[in-house]
Symmetry: C2
Subunit: 230 residues, 2 copies
């Protein structure tokens, strides 16, 4: 079989190495990476070559450069940044449908694969959510709710699913925050997803999927109302 020849130019070589340094955790999020001069020597390339590599990763959302200050690590996965950028141009309802698709699948997989650790974590979030509602700390409630959803997706044990879901959850989270800032009424999910937890604990795939579908329908209706009000 014929394969395209793959001669990597210097810029891509450097970019790929930096990506690895970030991916492996050698450079953590928030860290300032060495200045250009130092990296030029380390990689043994000219300033232009190095800058093109860094610029590529800045555009991808992995790095952020600040003139006079330095370059810091901003994210570990380029996919998340790409999705966020793309989703911002999409309609919110479309985003919800995609989130439904991913979370429904995740809930089914979670029902199959959930470990005891997963169950403990889910139960903890439910407990904390209940406390937050009692204290009327609604901001905290929203935060915990997001964590609960992400814990479900994590329990699916499918890394690709997790990576795709995360940026969507962030987008929707920031939307809900905007709603709260505008003092719009927001219906708090009172049942606290206990049914969903039960379904996953009992490894009942079908019930889990149905529950996700139902609450996403509620969210969808709320969003439609919001949009129509304006």
């Amino acid at each position: 079989m014929i394969q395209k020849t793959n001669r990597m130019n210097l810029v891509e070589q450097v970019a790929s190495q930096i990506e690895q340094l970030i991916g492996s955790g050698h450079w953590q999020i928030g860290d300032r990476i060495p200045p250009e001069m130092e990296l030029m020597e380390k990689f043994d390339v000219s300033r232009n070559t190095l800058r093109e590599a860094i610029r590529a990763l800045v555009h991808a959302g992995l790095l952020e450069t600040r003139q006079g200050s330095g370059t810091i690590v901003r994210s570990t996965n380029a996919l998340g940044a790409a999705i966020k950028r793309h989703v911002k141009k999409s309609a919110l309802l479309e985003t919800i449908d995609v989130r439904l698709a991913l979370e429904k699948q995740a809930a089914q997989l979670a029902a199959e694969h959930r470990s005891e650790t997963d169950l403990a974590k889910l139960e903890e979030y439910i407990q904390l959510s209940r406390q937050a509602v009692e204290n009327k700390d609604y901001e905290q409630f929203i935060k915990l709710d997001i964590h609960f959803h992400q814990a479900i997706v994590s329990a699916s044990n499918n890394q690709l699913l997790i990576d795709l879901y995360e940026p969507l959850a962030e987008i929707i989270y920031s939307f809900v925050q905007d709603l709260m800032a505008m003092n719009k009424p927001f219906k708090y999910e009172e049942e606290l997803h206990i049914e969903l937890f039960t379904a996953i604990r009992n490894q009942d795939k079908h019930a889990a999927a149905t529950y996700v579908e139902d609450y996403m329908e509620v969210l969808r209706k709320e969003v439609v109302e919001m949009i129509e009000e304006e």
Copy 2:
């Protein structure tokens, strides 16, 4: 409310303009964009600045530079390139589960929103697939099969779903091609998805979802067999 001042540096300004030129179709896929010298003058920036912008888009998968030849447009959406890169590092089974999630949702939405044009297109692919099987042109059959699946996703009318699905379909298509090149046996789906078509025509959401789930389970089993053989 105080907003951060948004001083986009020159590189990002140029990159963003080029992205727009590609997104708007002013520069089509396959087109050769003007050489650096010309773009330097058009954007009124130095060579370094222009090259950093182009390099960022090359890394994102929108452009491809060829020394001596020029720079061509390779893709219109950066998300697809990012997903492809990410998925290549994922396990194939994970990819199948994500594809199932998206296509199941797409089939349900298609059942709700399908237009007469959508139905006509689906029917046409089924017809052509049947011919391909009769002619024993299996490569053509695979190609048409992919088109059929993408037509379903298109009928969902959810652009985000479409953009996420497309790169996954491409990955799986290239995997199937590899299988055929290795002369592995490949079970052709004989029923030609007529049931799925019928469900969408009859606007039967539930049947559509069930059908997608069933044939994805078949695909999954085949992949598992392949992997175990090695």
